[in-house]
Amino acid sequence: MIATAMNEGSPQARALGFSTLEIGEATAILKVPYRPEIVGDPETGVIAGGVVTTLLDHASGQAVHAALTAWVSIATLDLRIDYMRAAEPGLDVFARAHCYKLTRSVAFVRAVAYDRDPNDPVAAAQATFMLDSSAGKKPGANLKPPRDAGAKTGGVD
């Protein structure tokens, strides 16, 4: 349910056409369909690295939600991505993420992106997420001006 909400309810996920193929105990598999609009190198037709970044971030977030027993807001703290090879032009790209450790405040995730075979990945990611990132923040919190510039605010979903 959360996976569907995270794809349908997130304008960027919807714009890129993300869909969740599988949710496990602490895992998620997502797909982004190939489209000419999301190409990064017009000479080769290879999908942009940034699209893979967004897919890996989104899949990692869903793996965290899969690992949690109750819904809490989460925000990416950091995301490190190795791009091992170019995705094959014309092919959909998949991401498989696994939340391998949860603490009270932080979730640790590993993920890979691939086109044909998970064992021949396009990219690999390692991410950490803050849990309960919106604690005390009401919907629309970001529409108000910050209390003072540079003030501490929450993270990014």
């Binding site: 925000a75 703290l77 950091d78 791009y83 979903d157």
Partner: protein
């Protein structure tokens, strides 16, 4: 128009994904500022609302690539080897800016640091460090 300007404009216009996100760039001498205007389709969390972290990562990676295109003519587009992104504040529904610093541009590898901010330059919302495989034209 200076060569750098021409290279930057043609690079951003030629990349479909840069157009998809609406990325623009302003050049003052050799200093480039990339601009990501706010749009509904770049939102990740509709509750706050906040810009998708992946979009901020993609924007900063594109900023690094654009800065490399300004720095030197390339035989082909640089290939991203790895990136490390840190999220400091949520991306509010405002215009986002980014600037890249090339720490090293070698014959094969470039090391680039990027910072993205909104209203306050001194309060960045995210940073990126990236390594790129480059092929500068021999002149």
């Amino acid at each position: 128009m200076a060569d750098e300007d021409t290279r930057l404009v043609s690079m951003l216009e030629s990349i479909p994904y840069a157009r998809f996100l609406g990325i623009k760039a302003e050049l003052a001498g050799d200093e480039m500022t990339a601009v990501l205007p706010f749009a509904q389709h770049i939102v990740g969390n509709p509750m706050l609302p906040a810009i998708h972290g992946g979009v901020l990562g993609a924007f900063m990676e594109m900023t690094a690539l654009a800065q490399l295109s300004v720095a030197a003519p390339m035989k082909r587009q640089p290939r991203t080897i790895d990136v490390s992104i840190e999220y400091l504040r949520s991306g509010r529904p405002l215009t986002t800016y980014a600037r890249a610093t090339i720490k090293k541009l070698g014959r094969r590898i470039a090391n680039v640091h990027v910072e993205a901010w909104q209203e306050t330059r001194s309060a960045p919302i995210a940073t990126l460090r990236g390594l790129f495989l480059v092929a500068p034209s021999e002149e």
